[in-house]
């Protein structure tokens, strides 16, 4: 246990610190994207990096996402470790071909001789009152693309640790940053930052016996809140924060579901074809005889992300989660 006083920091600050520390530790780490240099990024995550490391290490690129990711591929081919910022989720789509046809496949294509250690930071999700195209949850696209790691932090400490791990990875990592948690604060000691652990472990954020909420990123705090509210209904909910969608931590998730016998997957991304289908299917494959009820999903509706004034009706909230928990066939128990 550390004796240094913990100071509150935001997730955005922890991310900045992770980039700074990674750049200081390894001269091959380069940050690039739209407005990441002088401005420090529209969310200020790259604030100060151009000043400290120079514009060659933290570069304002032309406005072209395929070009950003495509040149990052070339830089990685030459031994650099590019950290690319896509300004918003939906603005990563122009880079989709580079991501799917090159970033995810170059190692495999070259029988391991040409790995691509590229980190692709994508602010994602809603809840910030953004106009069209600024609130997409695009993780389903990345999960369906072999060769990518897909991770997303839900806490300030994880933001630091996972980003360091992503940059340290010799494989490409899509690093999804929950926009609405950028300003979430937590006690965290920036002088003794969380150690970098390998990507791929989920964590139980709250233990409980009645049912498991399986979630990640922006929905973790919502699930924690739902778990608190559930106590009034007599349910003791466990909350698993996946942290990594690829690789997927079957072990932690299934251990929890086997204990509780019931599970709800919660995420913002659309329901149909979203991450929840995969998660529910694999949990069911592995825990069928432990399940008292089908694994349910509480997720975004299957509609284009709505305008700010309607987003509260779209986002999975506490009530909708508790409704789903209520449908987990509790009669079976009695």
């Amino acid at each position: 246990m550390t004796t240094v006083a913990l100071k509150p920091a935001t997730m955005a600050q922890a991310l900045t610190r992770a980039l700074r520390d990674a750049m200081a530790a390894d001269p091959s780490v380069h940050v690039m994207g739209e407005d990441v240099g002088t401005l420090g990024g529209v969310f200020r995550v790259t604030d100060g990096l151009a000043k400290e490391f120079g514009e060659d290490r933290c570069t304002d690129t032309p406005l072209a996402e395929a070009g950003i990711l495509g040149t990052a591929v070339g830089m990685a081919m030459y031994g650099l470790r590019p950290v690319v910022e896509m300004q918003f989720d939906a603005f990563a789509y122009p880079a989709f071909e580079q991501l799917v046809s090159h970033v995810s496949r170059m190692r495999n294509r070259t029988r391991g001789t040409m790995p691509l250690p590229v980190t692709i930071r994508v602010p994602y999700g809603g809840g910030i009152g953004g106009v069209e195209h600024h609130s997409d949850s695009s993780e389903a696209y990345y999960m369906a693309t072999p060769g990518l790691h897909v991770v997303t932090p839900a806490t300030v400490a994880d933001a630091y640790g996972l980003l360091r791990a992503a940059i340290a990875s010799d494989d490409p990592v899509v690093f999804l940053e929950p926009k609405r948690l950028y300003w979430s604060k937590d006690s965290w000691n920036p002088e003794e930052p969380t150690p970098v652990e390998p990507i791929g472990r989920a964590v139980v954020r709250r233990s409980g016996r009645s049912a498991t909420l399986i979630t990640y990123g922006p929905s973790v705090p919502v699930c924690m809140e739902a778990a608190e509210a559930a106590r009034a209904e007599g349910w003791d909910l466990e909350v698993v924060d996946l942290r990594s969608l690829v690789p997927f931590d079957d072990e932690t998730v299934c251990a929890s579901v086997r204990r509780t016998g019931r599970a709800v997957v919660v995420h913002e991304s659309g329901t149909f074809g979203g991450p929840g289908g995969e998660i529910a299917a694999r949990v069911t494959e592995r825990c069928f005889h432990y399940l008292e009820a089908p694994v349910l999903r509480v997720a975004g509706f299957d509609v284009p992300y709505p305008p700010p004034m309607l987003e509260r009706h779209h986002l999975p909230g506490v009530d909708r989660i508790l409704d789903a928990v209520g449908r987990l066939q509790w009669e079976a128990e009695s």
């Binding site: 739209e34 407005d35 240099g37 002088t38 401005l39 420090g40 529209v42 304002d60 690129t61 032309p62 406005l63 072209a64 996402e65 395929a66 070009g67 939906a90 603005f91 789509y93 122009p94 009152g129 953004g130 106009v131 069209e132 195209h133 600024h134 329901t271 149909f272 509706f301 299957d302 509609v303 284009p304 709505p306 305008p307 700010p308 004034m309 309607l310 009706h313 779209h314 009530d319 909708r320």
Partner: protein, 378 residues
Amino acid sequence: MTVMEQRGAYRPTPPPAWQPRTDPAPLLPDAEPYRVLGTEAAAKADPELLRTLYAQLVRGRRYNAQATALTKQGRLAVYPSTTGQEACEVAAALVLEERDWLFPSYRDTLAVVARGVDPVDALTLLRGDWHTGYDPYEHRVAPLCTPLATQLPHAVGLAHAARLKGDDVVALAMVGDGGTSEGDFHEALNFAAVWQAPVVFLVQNNGFAISVPLAKQTAAPSLAHKAVGYGMPGRLVDGNDAVAVHEVLGDAVRHARAGGGPTLVEAVTYRIDAHTNADDATRYRGDAEVETWREHDPILLLERELTAHGLIDDDGIQAARQDAEVFAAALRERMNQDPALDPMDLFAHVYAEPTPQLRDQQAQLRAELEAEQEGAHR
């Protein structure tokens, strides 16, 4: 016989398929942006046009100020201002016939309003009630487009379709200097030129893409120099000279209408305000630069010309300002009313008919809303 003479015998012909199809010279822009105000040509300009442009610029400036103020009052989620760029916005709308189409970028609400769309409707997206607030077919204005440059191929396709149908329709598409870096810009211009589609591309080079200055965006002599690479004319114009922009765009529209194909117009202007109300421009540019551009203000330039020609007096100036105030007041008042939004709209327009899956979700939300309602009534 010398080697040279011997060689005469087999001097290769040009590669058979090599025929430069286009003379590049007329496609290249002039070295300096085209100007009318302050030149001899100004005297020949139609006084009525000058007065109309002036009134629209003054109103446009006031509109920008009002919309920015609305963000402070929480009535708009965000507003990207075109203060300083009014000449481009207004001219783009005025050069089009009713049957033509306008393809605005996310910044171009002023052009949309100048084309006749109700300003409250035009601001719907930025207010946060819905993605597009107007029926695109009513004024032939495509939805405001946020993913940069992606509206350009739409303009090309629409203009091409109109031509195929035998309709006399021109499309004018607007994009920023930053947007020219996107692949969609390239593909749109190429399709337009190959199809000889009646499209005009207006690039407002306002010096910045958020914080990124033009020098980090391109190394080209000008953005208008991109045109020759597609085989279309490139024109460079002073974007703060409303008369010049109106003339150059008008020429391009007429050229397109006459079957001459597309034109790329670069209007050199400046974004006086920050990127949006949420941006802090002091992080990336100094006041001095902004000040120089204030001296090249589009309203100032036109006002001086009008005064010099005796085409306007103080009363006329006051009248224009008064009109702008009335316009702004009406907007302010109407924007102060809370929009009536139906959450069930989430599902109404995803498909012509909701899928069974969507109907389930619709039922779920309806039940939730009813429960909420009941809770409120109790």
